[in-house]
């Protein structure tokens, strides 16, 4: 239990994949700039990451490793994530219309979120148990969502500012993300 808590806190705050290892950046910068769709987007991302992590873990343990097919890992994971999407949609339809809408609208953004593939590859390297990998998936989802929500709100504030014309739009977004990670650099070493 303590391990799980450690994984949760460290992945969400300290070793946040988005800011320290540049995962998920395409989805971060491609996301809509209003907060309401972003909340749905982040819930959908958490759902997909969790399901994808579980599925990839299973695929790796049951299919790839016994048959010595590790070199197919990346390809297999991408295919698995694609296969998990209808399952995520079904769950979304059953549980909440917000998630369902977000999944349909933002499917490219969520699917190609490199954090989804990235966390699966990372947990394989770390050789951890099933429950811990599931929690790693959830915490990466939460970490990404936290960064995404903070980033969107910061962007909304920046939109009110008198930003120089060459920097408006994407550039000031990049600068903002850089300054955010400047702050998070203080948390390393904990």
């Amino acid at each position: 239990m303590q391990d799980i808590l450690v994984i949760l806190i460290s992945s969400i705050l300290i070793n946040n994949l988005v800011l320290t290892e540049f995962f998920g950046l395409s989805s971060l910068f491609g996301s809509p700039q209003k907060i309401e769709p972003v909340i749905g987007l982040s819930l959908a991302t958490i759902l997909l990451i969790t399901l994808a992590t579980i599925a990839n873990f299973a695929v790796d343990r049951l299919i790839l490793q016994p048959f010595d097919l590790e070199y197919l890992r990346t390809l297999a994971f991408v295919v698995t994530i694609g296969a998990v999407i209808p399952a995520a949609k079904k769950i979304g339809r059953v549980t909440s219309p917000v998630i369902d809408n977000s999944l349909t609208l933002f499917m490219p953004l969520i699917f190609s979120n490199t954090a989804v593939l990235g966390i699966s590859l990372i947990i394989i390297n770390k050789n951890i148990s099933f429950i811990e990998s599931m929690f790693a998936g959830i915490s990466i989802g939460i970490g990404f969502s936290l960064i995404l929500i903070m980033f969107t709100l910061l962007r909304e504030r920046a939109a009110l500012a008198d930003v120089p014309r060459p920097f408006q739009g994407a550039a000031i977004g990049l600068v903002t993300a850089g300054l955010m990670s400047l702050g998070f650099m203080g948390l390393i070493g904990i």
């Binding site: 903070m150 500012a161 008198d162 203080g186």
Partner: protein
């Protein structure tokens, strides 16, 4: 499109003759003088270099953007940022360090976001974090306070200080040492009492390091003066200091070797008081409602304590403030929406 404001920054107390920023600069005077007394001319030189760089870079960028230079320079906001930065950086730091810090704070954190009014991150803290991460060695060299200096060694006079800062001489040996927070971070094998006895910066058995206490008290007085003049509200500073004290008390295990230090030590050393009264109260990077300010101050206090106790950096005010700035829009958003939700539910009842 140049915006002409009708000066919303006037202080209510003095009939609008003195702006808020001028009051803040005034409140920094005691701290500035005490720091110069304790640490020598290095502090004053830092402030000089920072203010010059800030003003020049701001003028250049305003000219590039075809904005009125005099209006923006006269409101002294960049001067305030530069003074805070100069106070935060180590005295006798190389001149290029101060220039880089000042440039990153003014150009990146202030001008790129449109100069005044709507900033996202506190410029002084951005500048400090940039040089702390890029030049950790130069940033770890602090001057020993004058109260602790060994007999016969004096702080360099103004000419020697200039030559040290501009790299022409290297005679900093007898006058530099660790700060109290540094001492705590590096002596992981010693009990707290042993730290107080053996490290020279703690001589005379005071609470938070001789010299440093006085500096922080000076910032505290400046802060109280500003509170009394209603420049900012008490919520954020009080929340931050309370959180640091409570966490330090909770994790105080009687002075063992892994302890993080007593509450008073945390409050009176490093940049705590400066951060509490002069950094987190900056209106453009903070939150709007008073309740949100309590949360904001508490969050920053939490980050400061966590990084000081368990992170890699001895003084964490800059990182804590930056993390708080990241979270400030989120706190605003949540406080707006929880009031909406509670109003809706009470209407429905």
């Amino acid at each position: 499109m140049p915006v002409v404001k009708s000066n919303p920054m006037n202080s209510p107390q003095l009939g609008g003759a003195v702006s808020k920023i001028q009051m803040v600069l005034l409140a920094l005077m005691p701290a500035l003088s005490i720091m110069t007394y304790q640490f020598g001319f290095g502090t004053a030189i830092n402030i000089l270099i920072a203010v010059t760089t800030a003003t020049v870079s701001e003028s250049i960028i305003l000219a590039l953007r075809k904005r009125p230079i005099k209006v923006h320079l006269n409101d002294l906001s960049s001067v305030l940022t530069a003074v805070l930065l100069g106070l935060a950086l180590p005295p006798l730091a190389p001149w290029w360090l101060v220039v880089i810090a000042s440039l990153s704070s003014i150009v990146i954190a202030k001008q790129l976001y449109g100069n005044t009014g709507v900033g996202l991150f506190n410029p002084a803290m951005v500048g400090y974090a940039v040089v702390l991460l890029s030049f950790p060695l130069e940033m770890s060299v602090w001057v020993i306070p004058v109260s602790v200096l060994v007999e016969g060694i004096n702080h360099p006079n103004i000419f020697e200080s200039f030559s040290i800062v501009f790299g022409m001489s290297n005679s900093v040996d007898g006058i530099t040492g660790a700060t109290p927070l540094d001492a705590f971070k590096q002596s992981s094998g010693l009990l707290v009492d042993q730290i107080y006895q053996t490290k020279t910066v703690f001589s005379s058995a005071t609470l938070a390091g001789v010299g440093w206490e006085v500096v922080n008290m000076a910032f505290l007085f400046g802060g109280i003066f500003l509170l009394q003049a209603r420049i900012f509200s008490w919520h954020a500073p009080l929340a931050m200091m309370t959180t640091i004290s409570i966490l330090a008390m909770l994790f105080w295990d009687g002075g063992s070797s892994v302890s993080a230090g007593s509450p008073l030590m945390h409050l009176l050393s490093g940049g705590t008081m400066m951060g509490a009264f002069f950094i987190i109260t900056d209106p453009s990077t903070s939150v709007k409602t008073n309740n949100a300010k309590l949360v904001y101050g508490a969050l920053i206090g939490l980050f400061i304590f966590v990084i000081r106790a368990w992170g890699d950096y001895p003084d964490a005010v800059a990182f804590g403030v930056l993390l708080g700035n990241c979270a400030a829009p989120l706190i605003d958003f949540l406080s707006k929406n929880t009031t909406k939700i509670s109003m809706e539910t009470s209407d429905a009842e």
